[in-house]
């Protein structure tokens, strides 16, 4: 075992990777997303287009990973050099909207065969920016509450119930604040929507500084709520705390919950629930930089990922993500078992009713600043 391993290590170090038409794909997300591109999507695409080789690179974790991609592209734009060395990037909603605003992306969706499948409010607007035609969600990801059924027979189905539950069970609810990843940011946004009742205004604008008072009031209430909650160490930290039984309810990414269950790292009994009036959905977008060297191949690759069959096999069945494109076309293709797993706890109707958008950028910044100042 050991000598063979060492030999393989040596070989891998010595033998350089072969070169073809390399499509540089930068993945601003965790290792598991990079894995999908390397092991499933890349090879699958290669089978249909033998002239292109996918070079998928992860750029780190969390929001800084997407930001690094932005900074890189921005620098190339500022330097006036062409073409740019990234062909496809997977970036967060926040970064994608900023890039659209600054004219750094190509409007490529109309050139796709599957363009008609790219639907939904979040491919039109993100953080108040018109992103129509610039983005295709690789998958959708929903923030939800996860709970231990053994300890919580009647999980809170709304924010009101959650507040009452936390009061009755202090120290048993956890989320990761706003510094440790987007699931905590999303929970905070959901809280503000609920508390202020300003969901429409905060997501559709126009920006009005006069709303700051209401926002700060909501955040002050969150500070008091936090006194009986646990602030966990990052997105994965919430899952870990649930796993240990340290907390009984936590705000999590549904995809991470499924991934942990798939890997056997998580108690399979843990179930998600989407509380009224809702928590944000936060897709990762596939984008093409404006001056991508291999733009045509880039669009083909994204087109491939947006195919309902690929979505069903790689995105839904294998990883438990919600499809990035038209769910009505994708869901009939998945097995009943995967479907049951996908909608256990959170049904398709729940998603339709309670998935919230992220607020306008200006409000987002106001909310996070208020959080840092008031909650700390």
């Amino acid at each position: 075992m050991l000598p063979r391993m060492m030999l393989a290590v040596l070989l891998a170090l010595v033998v350089p990777a072969s070169a073809a038409t390399r499509l540089n794909v930068a993945i601003g997300a965790d290792v598991n997303v990079v894995e999908v591109h390397k092991t499933l999507l890349g090879p699958g695409f290669r089978a249909t287009a033998s002239d292109v080789e996918i070079n998928a690179v992860g750029t780190g974790t969390g929001e800084p990973a997407s930001r690094a991609i932005y900074t890189k592209i921005k620098a190339q734009a500022d330097a006036g050099r062409k073409p740019w060395d990234l062909d496809v990037a997977l970036v967060s909603m926040a970064v994608a909207s900023q890039m659209v605003k600054e004219g750094l992306l190509a409007r490529y969706v109309p050139q796709m065969k599957n363009a008609a499948l790219v639907k939904g409010a979040e491919v039109k607007h993100a953080f108040g920016v018109d992103v129509d035609g610039y983005v295709v969600p690789m998958f959708h990801n929903q923030i939800a509450l996860a709970y231990l059924p053994s300890k919580v027979p009647n999980p809170p189905k709304s924010f009101d119930e959650l507040v009452a539950w936390v009061k009755a069970n202090p120290g048993r609810f956890g989320y990761n604040g706003i510094k440790g990843g987007v699931s905590g940011v999303g929970f905070t946004m959901g809280w503000v929507y609920w508390k202020t009742g300003l969901y429409k205004e905060l997501t559709q604008g126009p920006f009005d500084k006069g709303k700051e008072g209401a926002i700060r009031e909501a955040i002050t209430a969150l500070r008091d709520f936090n006194r009986q909650a646990v602030i966990t160490n990052g997105n994965a930290g919430t899952l870990d705390a649930l796993n240990r039984g340290e907390i009984w309810v936590g705000a999590v990414w549904i995809d991470q919950l499924v991934a942990w269950k798939n890997e056997g790292r998580m108690d399979p009994a843990v179930t998600p629930v989407l509380p009224a009036p809702g928590l944000p959905i936060y897709p990762l977008y596939l984008v093409v930089p404006r001056e991508a060297a291999n733009r045509e191949a880039a669009v083909r690759y994204i087109d491939y990922i947006a195919t309902p069959e690929v979505q069903a096999k790689a995105i839904v069945e294998k990883f438990g993500w919600y499809p990035g494109v038209d769910a009505e076309k994708v869901l009939p293709l998945i097995s009943p078992k995967s479907r049951a797993l996908l909608f256990s706890g959170v049904s398709a109707q729940d998603l339709a009713r309670y998935s919230r958008q992220m607020p306008l950028k200006e409000y987002h910044d106001l909310i996070t600043l208020a959080y840092e100042e008031i909650v700390r």
Binding site: R67, Y70, K179, G180, N233, T368
Partner: protein, 235 residues
Amino acid sequence: MLAAVFLWPLGVSVVASFVREGQWTLANYGTVARLYARDVAYTIGVAAAGTALTFAAAIPLCGWLRVRAFGPIEFLLKVPLFVPFVVVGHALRVFWSPYVPSFSASWAGIATALAWKHLGLAALLLLGAFRGTDDSYLEAARQLGASAGRLTRDILVPMAGPSLAVTGILIFSSMLASFSIPLMMGRGGGPQMLMIDVYYRYGQHGDFATASALGVVAYLLAMGAALVYVRRLTR
């Protein structure tokens, strides 16, 4: 080269800390004061606790080693020198996590990890200083029946005073600026180490101005410590 890669960016960040949206301003420092004053105090506190903990372990051990040389322990004390910061952070995190998971994220956990890493450096410097003291004093005291503990307290520490101070300052300022250990240990709520705040501001928000202002605060803190160190080195 050094100038281009270190001094220039250093200067740029100092300048950037006084600029917001193209205007000269102190607003970034206002943000620091408003959001991070508590974190500055926390960072100083953790660094002080870490330094104290390092000394609390290193002084008796080195005193004892000075009086009765014992190779295996001296070797052990060198081990942390060769363990990279990132690994230290991770190792101490997984060391606690199966038993007291919340400890690694507490201020005490971070101080302990910092102390663990700096124990090697402290032991090296202190042993050097202690071995520099004249044997005749120790012999004389030993004749009078003083124990290793007494010898350390009454002779070695006072005689190595200046070296001790320099070591302390070196370790303290290194702990102030520590990034990888607190980052690896992770921490959810509550105050954060200063460098974690810098990374959050820069990495999450792309807010270079506030990150720089936080940086300047850290420079100033380190400068105070470094000045003493430098004066000692050049003497």
